[in-house]
Subunit: 268 residues, 2 copies
């Protein structure tokens, strides 16, 4: 399979990238097709509000590392079969994500509400058609208990952005790539943090509450307080001005966004 | 990519196979995994009511025959970009279908409401999770006009099964593979025919109203009457007893169902 395009996403590292697109409606990405005759291939797609992306989990560290059982974050340490999960390590390293199609500009789709990291290779785009893509009316949907919670309103963390951090992002607005305004980037940042993107390991085993992430061209440092269920964003810097920007980059494809070298955390 | 299993489906030929699973809730299929450690890989999957199958369009006649524009049956001759359709000829020959998971028996998933033909290679199974796989509440869905009709209740044909045909299928019940009873097979047959499975070409260009199809181990002949919008099933025979069973078989993988050699029609 040859990618038909490569995603440019506001999520530059797996660390902090939401585990599903519904968490982060303000996430922004764009997909520019590199297949033959992209304009004809996209004819009529602007009439659809949502599209599926069939993509490759290109940041899987080892090829052939799929195991029969996986530990989804929502299961809090328990394990289920790989086909009962959306884990990235699968016998065939193919993922499926729904995205909102905001607009089409030539060979480029502008997307939002997506959970994919920058540089993701995309193999297919399919229109979302409710009659094909959801159980028919009256056909009840059943989920295991550990996922029922995913359907209920998430008990979100309260996100506090300090006046200093807000001032910092306002002054960096002109450097944003995926977002048009600082306000848009802030909305996305709040969605990312409110859903608590920390892995079980990070939450329980790592010392300190500081949590760095990269969003668009920004390096952002927050602190979680698990007692009062808040997360405070206290520092927002241009990625290029930080040590992160100098560290080795560990992604296959860089797309159009500057990025640093924070170690990649597993996403499942 | 290596298939994790191959589908055994009640639909033996593309001809008559529904264009989406919602049309045919009584369609039956089974998927037996051939990947390593299938029992562990499926652990917990019985807690889900529906699963996605990521599969290959293995009956595409030519490799690399994808064109930028396609003519979906619902568009009545018009053309749209391939990424605005679910057509089988795509830059990467990957399909996506939702199925009801009826039960799990060892390494075998018993599925219904599926639109896939027998022998389809399956590359991945993913649980259907509404929070990930449908637009979030309040996010409106938009479709082009030619697909809006697909959302509305279809103006169905009336299916008449002659007493002779009903008697024939009752006497052949013991030969059914995908269905347990003649009643189940009849329900699926009615769903297949009521949605008018004929291609635009067959409907407008072919002489005669006779329409043969294969369902499970049966060769079934019906006649469409476009004036009074009925379709009458008049002959049901065991496939092995017909000339069809002698003709060359044109599928990659035969699965467990006997089949004949009817020319394969394009499905899009």
């Amino acid at each position: 399979m040859t990618p038909i395009g490569q995603l440019a996403s506001c999520f530059v590292r797996l660390n902090g990238t939401p585990r599903n697109g519904g968490i982060c409606p303000h996430a922004r990405a764009s997909l520019t097709l590199c297949c033959p005759d992209p304009l004809a291939s996209l004819d009529g797609i602007a009439d659809f509000s949502h599209v599926w992306l069939v993509f490759g989990f290109h940041q899987n560290k080892k090829v052939g590392a799929a195991k029969p059982k996986v530990a989804p974050p929502k299961l809090g340490g328990g394990r289920v079969g790989v086909f009962s999960s959306r884990a990235p390590y699968r016998p065939n390293s193919i993922g499926l994500s729904l995205a909102r199609l905001d607009r089409v500009e030539g060979a480029t789709l502008h997307l939002s509400g997506l959970d994919l990291v920058d540089g993701t290779p995309v193999y297919d785009i399919k229109p979302y058609i409710p009659a094909y893509d959801s159980p028919r009316d009256g056909d009840p949907t059943r989920l295991p208990g550990w996922l029922e919670a995913a359907q209920a309103p998430v008990q979100q963390l309260r996100v506090i952005i300090t006046p200093e951090a807000r001032h910092q992002i306002d002054t960096l607005e002109a450097h944003l790539v995926a977002f048009s305004t600082a306000d848009e980037a802030v909305l996305c940042l709040i969605e990312m943090l409110a859903s608590d993107p920390r892995s079980v390991y990070r939450k329980t085993k790592c010392e300190g509450s500081e949590y760095p992430l990269i969003l668009d061209s920004l390096h952002i440092i927050s602190a979680f307080d698990d007692t009062d269920r808040t997360v405070t964003v206290h520092t927002i810097e241009l990625l290029a001005d930080t040590d992160y920007a100098q560290a080795p980059v560990n992604v296959n494809n860089l797309g159009s966004i500057d990025r640093g070298g924070e170690p990649i955390s597993g996403k499942s």
